[in-house]
Structure formats: C-alpha cells, structure tokens
Assembly symmetry: D3
Homo-oligomer: 157 residues x 6
C-alpha cells in the first residue's frame, strides 16, 4: 500500500473525495490517562467533593473533535453529526479510560475526529491534575472500530 496524502511534487495534499458518495460512517477510539495514586484518588473523589475534572474533559473532547480539520492539516472539514465520550475507572492501575464515538453520513471517514476527541480529553485531564502529579502519562490511544466507506469495517485486533 501507499500514502494517499502526497502529490507528484512529494508534498502533502488533502485527498480528493469530490467524486465519492455519502455513506454512514462510525468511528470509535480509545485512550488512557495513567495517574499517581494521589491524583487518581483526587480525580475520582473530586467529582463529588471538589469538582468534576471529567465534566471539563468531556466538553474539551467534544469541542476538540470539532476542531479536528483545523488541527490535523490534511483532514477534511466535515459537518460532524454525533460525538460522545465516556469514561471508565481502572482502580487497580490508577487509569482513566476514555472512549469516544463519532458519526457522520459523508464522503470520508471521521476516525480522526474520534481519536482527536480522546486526545484532547486526555490532555485536559492532564492539565487539571498536573498541579498534583507531573508524572501523568497519556497512553494507548488508538482506533477501536470503524465502519462505512470503501475500506469497510475495521476492528482493532
């Protein structure tokens, strides 16, 4: 296989999708934020006591998904039709798990919107917890699933 993002001058272009039809596309992405014990507990308990870090990360992830074409240079601007983010707590490893799902009926996919939503949500958790823990790690960001379009369905193996 080959890169699709370069022109004959070996410089980047936005791939031409003008001839393609509209199909429903769904993308799901995943990522993790690994915290110290102290920061993890503060984040998890803080929801009730101090304030909800994840409420801010949720909004940031959704707004970040809408900024995808202005952040990732070769992404197509698309009228995103659905974006949601969910969180799970892994108490054993002090990890916040982030799941996103994006949908559109359009000429090209929204994988990058889903992955960007997770990344910006993760960065926001990082930002709001870094006063407590500067060793936070963002890890294991990837596409979980996609359907729709010429390349068909993908499920992370």
């Amino acid at each position: 296989m080959d890169f699709t993002h370069f022109n004959e001058q070996k410089r980047a272009k936005m791939v031409d999708v003008s001839h393609k039809g509209y199909t429903l596309r769904i993308a799901r992405a995943y990522g993790e934020v690994k915290l110290s014990q102290e920061a993890y507990t503060a984040l998890k308990e803080g929801r009730v006591e101090k304030g909800d870090v994840l409420a801010v990360a949720q909004v940031a992830g959704i707004m970040g998904a809408k900024q995808t074409p202005h952040l990732i240079p070769m992404c197509h601007p698309l009228p995103l039709e659905s974006i949601d983010i969910k969180f799970e707590f892994d108490d054993e490893h002090n990890i916040v798990k982030i799941f996103s799902e994006a949908k559109i009926t359009h000429k090209t996919g929204i994988e990058m919107e889903a992955v960007t939503a997770v990344s910006i949500a993760a960065l926001t958790i990082y930002d709001m917890c870094k006063a407590i823990d500067k060793s936070i790690e963002i890890q294991n960001i990837y596409l979980l699933y996609k359907e729709g379009g010429k390349s068909g369905t993908f499920v992370k193996g």
Copy 2:
C-alpha cells in the same frame, strides 16, 4: 495536595495568576507513535521517495501548540516565545519518537503547550499513515522536564 482549578461552586475556573511575576519557563515533552512494519518503512523511506510525513507533523505540532489555550479549557492564553519539535526513529520497535521544547518568560508555565505539540504531531502522523495501517498507537506521552515558576524544576523520574 489539591486541585487548583475549581471554584467554591465546585466548577472549573482559570487559575488566577495576575499577582505573579515573570520568570523564564521551559518545558519538554515526549511521545511515541507505534506503527506496523509496513507503515513504519513507508514513513521512513517516504521522506525521500514519496513525501515527508514528519514535515507535516512538525508544522501541525507547532501550530497545535499555539492552539493550546483554545483546546484545553482552563489553560491561560500565552504569547509563546519558542517551540520546536524533533523526531527520532526506533527501528527495532517501528516507533517514531517525538520530542518538543517550549519556552516563555511569563506568569505561568507552558507544559501544556509542549505536551499538546507532541499530541498533535502524533495525531498528524496517525492521519497520514492510517490508509496503510489502521492499528497505529499513540503512546507514552508525558512531560520530560520543566523549569521555572514556583514549583521549580521537574525531571521525569
């Protein structure tokens, strides 16, 4: 320690730094993009043959750093004074390593700008290689180093 980003209504705020002095601040961040053998080879060789994915990722990371306060809700808008990104190839593991460094002389730090630069550069590599490999993972994003400000110097242990 405690969260600094919440007000007495338990909702998020931008931390008040109006009373602080200007000090030089430096932040360095790190992250990795793990590719399949095929995508890794295409990216590495493509620089000469097809087009330079990392040249696009470099620009995206730098522009992304400047978008940090518009992506991360509680970040202060700051007139960033320096941002650079470098890449290293880990041929054994098919990994592109991303290093960023940001500088400013201001009232608050630019850790988030450094980490965001790495994240957006990683997402751009992901985007430009995903036609070849949908299993790409972004991993191990963290702050390597910071200096300046009240909390002093931090070196990732």
Copy 3:
C-alpha cells in the same frame, strides 16, 4: 420533556442526528442594546459623521454565526447557507434593535446560529460604545421564529 444533550454517564454529548433527513430550516432571532442618551445619539449620528458602529457589528454578527459550533459546546458544525442581520432604532428608549435570520437545508436546526449572531452583534456595539457609556445593557435576546425539522414551526408568543 427531557434533556437530549446528556449521555448515560450524565455528561454532555452532541445529539446524534446521523439518521435524520435534510430539510429546509429557517431561524430568526432578536435582541436589544440599551444605551445612554449620549451614546445612542453618538451611534446614530456617527454613522454619517464619525464612522458606522453598526457596519462593524454586522460583520461581527455574521462571522460570529459561523463560529457558533466552536463557541457552544454541543452545537453541530453546519455549512450555514444564509445569514443576515438588520437593525432598527427605537429613539424613545435609546435602544438598537437587532434582527437576524439564518437558513440551512440540513439535519438539524440553526437556532443557535441566529441567536449567536444577535449576541455577537450586540457585544460589538457594546465594545465600540463603552468609551462613552459603561452602563450599556444587552437585553431581551430570544428566538423569534423557527421552521423546519421534527419539532415544526415555532413563533415567539
């Protein structure tokens, strides 16, 4: 009735409209800026003598309408097809009345674009007159009318 903007984790999401059809939607909004006698006269006469505050507010309102999905977190990004703003003077009460109309043929409405256009136009009038009058008030912003979509036609009672 119930909120449509929350997921089962009680956090905000962008409502899924991927399954909906395209219909013509029109939204009209209204708002007022109440000025002191001095500022009102300066604004109204200034159009000829000094410069046209409302020409700037007009451009700001139209550009603000296009920023709606990047300002209002759960708004869908939409390729807006028409936006216009008109002003009326109420000499008796020193009020500038602002009217907007937005149109699109899409899966969801553009009420927020119409209301945002009015709000940003009002804020711009505020900004440009505040050297004369710091007591300016923005008031009575609401949706006048909408048509199209499942919820049908609405006329402000």
Copy 4:
C-alpha cells in the same frame, strides 16, 4: 465624549495602546437566562439526576472569554490571567443568574472578556435547554464593575 474606534477615514480601527503602561485590571459582568417553569426545574434538578447544564456553560463561558478578540473585531488580543464564572438560582422568577470575573495586568481592560464570558455561558444554557423550552430569554447583560486603567473604577449604578 467621542468614539475612539474610528480612523480619519471614518472606518474602524483597533485603538493604539502601545504607549500605555501595565496596570492591574479587574472586570465583573452579569447576565440572566429566564426559563419556563419546566425548563428551570429540569436544569436545576438535572444537576443531580440527568447531567449538569451549568458545568457545560461554565467551560463554554471560560473558553468564550479566551475567544473575545476573535469575536469582537476591535478588541485587543490579551493574555488573560484569570477568568471565573458563578451561577445563582432565582427560584421565584425561574432565572439563572450568571456572574463573571476577569483579571489581567496589561495595557488595556478586559471588560469585553467578562461580558463575553457571560454571553457565551448564557447561550450554552439556551442551547442545552431549548429542546424543552424555545421561549428562553437572555436578558440584563451588563458590566457590574471594573477597576484599573486611565478611566478608573466603574460600579454599575
């Protein structure tokens, strides 16, 4: 008094502040969202039951404050040093009251950042409640207080 925002061609300009010194500036603004009984109750109780509309409005208002110079044409871009938003419930009139406070030590004021924060928070409440109530009104937006700079302290009379 006279407009400061026009040049000798009677067209708008950004006022020249290059010669001014840095002083601490604080601005506080206010605004209201008036809801139907049903929407008001849903919003107020929803915080516990369904999801917190005001948590989203809080983030939107803070991010909106940072967009002020890109929304209001003649506003100076400024590295905002503090922004916070608070809400009060007026059960008698079904009104959510919004209070903002912004701070900076710079050459010009941040009144518009404070007023914009209130406006965007109000628009977000509007957006998230409009499925229940299309008659919502945004009202009584004004500057409560400012200090700092040549024009001194202002308190809304």
Copy 5:
C-alpha cells in the same frame, strides 16, 4: 451587474444559497512571490541543505484554505473536498509561482478557498524568508479557472 452581498439596509450579508442544488465545482488560483537573488537561492537550495520552506508553505496554504470562511466575512462555510498546492520556480526572475486547486460538490463555489490557499502559502514564504530579504513582494494573485454553478466556466483571459 450588481453586488450580491448587501441587504436593503446597505449592509453586508451572506448570500442566501439555501434554494440551490449541489453541483461539482472546481477552482484554480495562482500567485507569485518575488524574492531577491540571495533569498531565492537560499529558498531553492535550502530544500536540500537547510530545510524546505515550501513544505511549510504547502501545509499553511492547505490549512488556510480551510479557514477561508472564518477569514473572509461573507464566505459560506463549506466542507471542502479537495485542496492541493503546487510550486514552480522561475529562475530568470527569482519568482516562486504558486498554483492551487480546490473542489467541492455543493451549493456555492470555492474560488475564495483557492485564492486564500495561494495567499497564505505566499505569506508563509514571505515570513520564512524575511530574515534574508525584507523587500519580498507578493504579486499577481488571481483566479485561473473555475467551473460549476450558475455562472458557468471562467478561464482567466
């Protein structure tokens, strides 16, 4: 012929295209950057030796095309379907020639996206060479070609 961008109050509006059908539209634009001998040689040779100015200009032009509706007040926001930029060297006159091509199947044209792509690419070349040559000129920016839509095909004479 007459201006289409003004309402009956003689103020600007976004032209209403809500009633129009979708047709394929293509636009091509052109522009030049004229450099001193020294800057021209540095740019052309620098591609191999120091770094590739045009790789940065390429990314900037493509991202700039996507910002068109947020830069040009009366432009419609559109989900751009293709954008590419190419460069040619005119050694005799020390000129970098810039060519862009944009495509969409929509209700209105993307001439402004094509012309904006060229302009932002030109400004980026300017920025990156201005340390060597402050006399750089951007010149001869125009539409080369457009097809699609009611006004039909245009070829620069």
Copy 6:
C-alpha cells in the same frame, strides 16, 4: 545570511525569542486590488448607494491581523497593540490601494501582522466584487516600513 526558521533536523521551528527584551515595533504594509472598470465604479460608488465593501474589508483585515499566528505556521502569537487600515482610490488604473499599520512593544516584530492585514482586506474586496468581475488581481503586496528590534529600521527602497 541564513534561514532562522530551521532546526538541525532541517525542519521548521518557531525562532526562540525568550531571551530578547521588549522594544516598540511598528510595521507598515501595502497592497493593491486591481478591478475592471465596472467593478471599480460599483465599489467606489457603492459606498453611498449600495453598501460599503471597504467597511467589510476593514473589519476583515483587522480580524485577520489577529489571526496571523494561527495562519502563518512559524509566527509568534503576540498581543497586538494597534492595527489600522486605510484605503486610497487610484481612478486612473481602477486600483484600490490598501495601507496597514501595526504596533507592539514586544520581543519580536509584527511585520507579518501588517502584511496579513493587507492580504485579508484584499481577499475580502475580491470576494465581494467577484460576482461582477472574476478577473480581479491582488498585486504588489509588500512591507513598506518597519522599525524596532535588532535588525533596525527598514524602508522599502
């Protein structure tokens, strides 16, 4: 002389200005829009009769100047302290002449803000007149003058 915008990997960076002092900087730029006789007359007379194209171009140019660091990849984000735009009519050649002036007291210059202001104003004139004349040309954009900073004063020869 040499490029300052590349790192040792031959990729672009934002030049480090963290060690520099604050000095007053002024930049003036120039550009032209050449119109057909018909479009030129419509624009010039339209100011009174139909609507003022240049009022829109003025606002676009000023807002565009503030977007400079988000358009030109290696530009520093700066709190611009003054920006103004003026127009002159050249009736003999059907040309609108655009002049901008930007000011800041900071660590680096604002040449790009001045040149970008002219470019975006020119593109806006283009957009609003293109229904009448598709052969419009934007030409002769350059820096007229700069002062301040290590490289001293420049006057276009």
